[in-house]
């Protein structure tokens, strides 16, 4: 009985203070976590066409087409199929691909989610957030010496 009273008091307190968690999206841009993983951005200047991202991708989202000389021709990515595991970004030796905070992409059909390298290059930053800034420090924990505190952030 006391518990019920307490829970009713708590809900009433929340009703009276008038705060809301709701983000009214089109008018207000929602805050995303620095570690949020959104649509990819691709840099052709950086890419060395090593195809590691294509290999590591767990569900064959990335497709790379090369010519006879192993020069890169196409870099296609099916956003609608991506599970945002960030393995492609992890494995890339030159940071040519990274997942931005941008989640604002829509399409009418499934096929429109197949992005080629030009589209991936032109993915805008979300609110000018550089995703690498929030992610780089984390990697230190992976190469810890094995003694002292382990920082799992």
């Amino acid at each position: 009985m006391i518990g019920i009273m307490k829970s009713m008091a708590t809900t009433m307190k929340h009703a009276l203070d008038g705060e809301t968690f709701t983000v009214e999206y089109p008018e207000v841009a929602p805050e995303v976590s620095p570690r949020f993983r959104g649509v990819h951005k691709f840099s052709q200047e950086r890419c060395i066409w090593c195809r590691q991202c294509e290999n590591v991708c767990p569900n064959n989202t990335i497709q790379i087409v090369q010519d006879d000389q192993r020069n890169g021709e196409q870099y296609n990515l099916h956003i609608g199929q991506c599970i945002y595991c960030r393995l492609c970004e992890e494995v890339c030796p030159v940071d040519a691909i990274l997942l931005t905070q941008n989640f604002e992409f829509t399409a009418d059909t499934k096929d429109e989610f197949a992005y080629d390298k030009e589209q991936l290059k032109n993915v805008p930053w979300y609110k000018d957030i550089d995703p690498l800034e929030s992610r780089e420090p984390d990697r230190g924990a992976w190469i810890g010496e094995g003694d002292g505190e382990v920082d799992y952030q």
Partner: protein
């Protein structure tokens, strides 16, 4: 607090003879339409809009706000959306019962408002068995529930109907026993008498509403009423997040609207009963009676939504246990104590 029934008032306004039967039949129909429209308006406001807004306030959200001011246009949009959907009739349903159940659920609760005094002369009829009549019409919804569950030709609906009826029977008895304790105080089943008995003051400015005279009965009645109208924490007949709709699984479109409407009219009928027998009916200072009456029934509706966002749902066995071992014993004790107090002290 003696007010002439609404049909006679209407006949007086129209300048017709209140002693002729055809005039009274016509005026009763008009009065019934007025009262019905008033309650349906409340329900329309509560079901698609107020319910969402209140629950959202309790859970720190905003709820509907896109259509119209404060999202009030949602009421119209929801109505159009639900009415324009296809009415799907599953194979092998027991057609007459399946068609009648939503009508019965919606209309049984509306019938109860006939004897509720709403203030300012809005009082359709005042029979001597008013309270018994209200309880009788309110419990008719149980038949609708079991009809809906049985006729759907669906085992889940059937089980849902049985659960609903088990719950309604378990909580009907404490409800009526607690109502009977009020009858002992007032000495009459007549609604106008019960309201009139709550007019004098108790202590200081506090009126002798039975909620103040016997708060224990009031709390019991509120809890039993929650279960009776199938609101949280006793909403397991439909349990939207767990068993998905129970007895109304197969209903769609207009029939769903009728069942949903019936549920909300039932809440308001419960509120009207509580307002009449515990909160002094339409009595209150300054404002006209009908406004006070509406404030009181909306207060009860607000309470049901409050309980909905604060209290977790109970299991069916816990529900039956609370009903038969807790509420029934407490309400019997309350009735006996009231009888002793009324018989010995007063």
């Amino acid at each position: 607090m003696q007010s002439a029934p609404l049909p006679e008032t209407l006949a007086g306004i129209a300048g017709l003879d209140p002693n002729s039967t055809p005039v009274m039949i016509l005026m009763s129909l008009i009065g019934a339409a007025l009262v019905g429209t008033l309650m349906m308006t409340n329900t329309a406001l509560a079901g698609p809009w107020a319910k969402r807004k209140i629950t959202a306030a309790f859970t720190d959200r905003i709820a509907v706000n896109r259509i119209g001011p404060f999202g009030l246009g949602t009421i119209v949009v929801d109505a159009v959306r639900l009415l324009s959907k296809e009415l799907i009739v599953p194979e092998g349903v027991d057609r007459p019962a399946w068609d009648l159940a939503p009508l019965l659920i919606a209309s049984s609760a509306l019938l109860g408002f006939a004897v509720i005094p709403m203030g300012n002369g809005i009082h359709l009829a005042d029979p001597e068995v008013g309270l018994a009549y209200v309880f009788a019409t309110a419990s008719m919804a149980s038949i609708g529930l079991v009809m809906a569950g049985y006729a759907s030709n669906n085992k889940y609906s059937f089980l849902g109907g049985l659960r609903a009826v088990a719950q309604n029977v378990a909580y009907e008895i404490p409800l009526i026993l607690t109502g009977a304790s009020v009858v002992l105080f007032a000495g009459s089943l007549q609604m106008s008498q019960i309201v009139a008995a709550q007019q004098q003051t108790l202590i200081g400015p506090l009126p002798s509403w039975y909620a103040f005279v016997n708060p224990f009965a009031f709390v019991l009645f509120m809890i039993a009423n929650l279960a009776e109208v199938g609101r949280n924490p006793f909403d397991i007949p439909e349990a939207p997040t767990e068993i998905v709709a129970g007895y109304q699984t197969e209903y769609s479109s207009v029939y769903f609207v009728l069942i949903y409407l019936g549920e909300f009219i039932h809440i308001f009928l419960g509120g009207a009963i509580i307002a009449t027998i515990f909160l002094g009916g339409p009595a209150g200072p300054v404002l006209p009676g009908i406004v006070w009456f509406l404030i009181k029934i909306w207060g009860v509706f607000f309470f049901t939504q409050w309980a909905r966002s604060a209290i977790p749902r109970v299991r069916i066995d816990q529900l039956i246990e609370i009903g038969w071992k807790g509420m029934l014993v407490l309400s019997l004790a309350n009735l006996l104590l009231t009888a002793v107090i009324v018989g010995v002290v007063v």
